[in-house]
């Protein structure tokens, strides 16, 4: 029972530079088995002139290029991030201005740890269905922070993804249903003036990631009368390379349905782009008629489970903009020292 909204187009961006996990092992004196246990070999890191706005712009530019629509027809720009360049001053307006969407549009930055962009996606789909807007642009982008020496450093990476949401007759993937599950769970947080987040170590797994994703996915399947066998792909939030496989196993999704959308082992956890880049990658290989489960998660905590059904419009869109794998494959390694410079971790004084 399809609804009257869906994904008209998608675009992704992954920065060029990569930091190998072994650099972090060596610098901070970690047990060398950690990268293997996390299933993350390397992560994407931003250049000195990049931030969540510039990365989000490129993902959104690719989505518009792929959709081939006039940006003026976009009625909402939602930007989900937990690494805003300005604490106060919207990022969404910079991107909307650069894309030529301004001035007659909604525009806002959303915050819900890694799930902010997903809340934006739900909202944009609803605005389209209720005919408040013709198209919505949803962007997830992060230059994820980690305290130097924290285990989070292996996974916290940089990347962006964007979707153009529109009516189902123009969609490459039609929304079938969505179920949201949130509670107040203190698994991961960052106070206003703190440069790095803190997390509850083991607490981030069971009561946070697993219980919220399972709650959302079970709620979705129950409301739609679907079971894991009905889905061809399952994409979960991917804070590391192992949690998505484990939550899939617990819900009854085999590894083969998860691996196509699992990008964290290759580029790290891009936070607001994490599951959604995986979804974009799946759209670049799925066939018309296939059903995709997408379940982003954000600490604090919450998860949205979506069911999308791919249409035959997907085939004409893939080659119209750079693909996720084009960015994953275009890479250059940097040392930890160079990464630290690009991130502004060295404190210099003016000459």
């Amino acid at each position: 029972m399809a609804r009257d909204s869906g994904i008209v187009s998608w675009g992704a961006y992954v920065p060029r530079y990569r930091l190998k996990a072994e650099e972090i092992v060596n610098l901070w004196g970690w047990d060398s088995n950690i990268p293997k246990n996390l299933n993350v070999a390397e992560k994407a890191v931003e250049n000195v002139d990049e931030d969540s706005i510039t990365m989000g712009f490129e993902a959104a530019y690719n989505a518009i290029l792929r959709a081939n629509i006039n940006p003026k027809r976009i009625g909402a720009v939602f930007f989900g991030t937990e690494s805003k360049p300005y604490a106060v001053k919207p990022s969404a307006t910079v991107i909307a201005e650069a894309l030529g969407v301004t001035p007659a549009t909604m525009a806002s930055d959303l915050e819900f740890a890694c799930r902010a962009a997903s809340e934006g996606l739900r909202s944009a789909l609803a605005l389209v269905e209720s005919k408040y807007i013709e198209y919505g642009l949803v962007i997830g982008s992060d230059t994820a922070q980690a305290n130097p020496g924290d285990v989070l450093e292996y996974t916290a990476s940089s990347g962006a993804v964007a979707f153009i949401v529109g009516p189902s007759k123009e969609a490459a993937a039609i929304l079938e249903g969505v179920y949201t599950y949130v509670t107040d769970t203190p698994d991961f947080w960052r106070r206003g003036l703190s440069p790095y987040p803190k997390h509850g170590e083991a607490f981030t797994g069971e009561p946070a990631y697993f219980s919220h994703i399972e709650g959302a996915v079970r709620g979705l399947m129950e409301s739609l009368g679907l079971k894991p066998d009905d889905f061809d792909y399952a994409v979960f939030h991917q804070p590391n390379g192992t949690f998505p496989l484990r939550v899939g196993r617990r819900l009854g999704f085999p590894k083969e349905k998860i691996l196509p959308g699992l990008v964290t082992p290759l580029i790290g956890n891009t936070y607001n782009a994490s599951a959604l880049i995986g979804f974009a990658r799946v759209l670049e290989q799925a066939r018309p008629g296939q059903r995709i489960l997408v379940a982003p998660f954000g600490s604090g905590a919450g998860s949205d489970a979506y069911s999308f059904v791919v249409t035959d419009r997907v085939n004409g869109l893939r080659g119209k903009a750079p693909r996720v794998d084009d960015y994953i494959n275009a890479k250059k390694y940097v040392s930890y020292a160079v990464h630290a410079k690009m991130r502004g971790l060295y404190r210099r004084i003016a000459n």
Binding site: N47, I53, T54, G319, A321, R323, G344, R348, A350, N351
Partner: protein
């Protein structure tokens, strides 16, 4: 580097979207936009969105950089001939000097071009990077 809100605001559209001007009299285009055509002096100009791809015509590498740009050294500054023939002087990013050569294909990207310390404004603008993605737009 001190950045005033007025300065950021006035230049944002040409910087973000690579918008130049085309002369109605001689037909030539220029960037960044000026009040008069640099070729014939005419003030009859229209705004045009310039193509986002081109080739490096010449470039220079700056090792001794202004304060505030040390983390970007060495800076690569190029004259890029866009696909419509318009010449743009801009930084080349995501590249090391040994990768860059004349004739290299580049594409426009939005990046942070300036910032006013940790408390001031951030200036965004168009720079170029080597075309890393071979894709068809047809």
């Amino acid at each position: 580097m001190r950045l005033s809100p007025a300065q950021i605001w006035r230049t944002r559209i040409p910087r973000y979207r690579l918008i130049g001007k085309e002369c109605k009299k001689c037909g030539r285009r220029h960037y960044p936009p000026r009040p008069a055509c640099p070729y014939c002096g005419s003030r009859e100009l229209i705004e045009v969105e310039l193509p986002r791809t081109g080739v490096i015509e010449s470039f220079t590498v700056i090792y001794t950089v202004m304060e505030g740009f040390k983390d970007r050294a060495p800076l690569i500054i190029a004259t890029v001939k866009l696909d419509d023939g318009t010449r743009v002087v801009a930084p080349i990013t995501d590249a090391e000097p040994e990768d860059v050569r004349t004739g290299m294909r580049v594409e426009a990207v939005l990046r942070r071009i300036r910032d006013d310390g940790s408390y001031g404004l951030i200036g965004y603008g168009t720079v170029f990077r080597p075309t890393i993605l071979v894709h068809k737009t047809s």
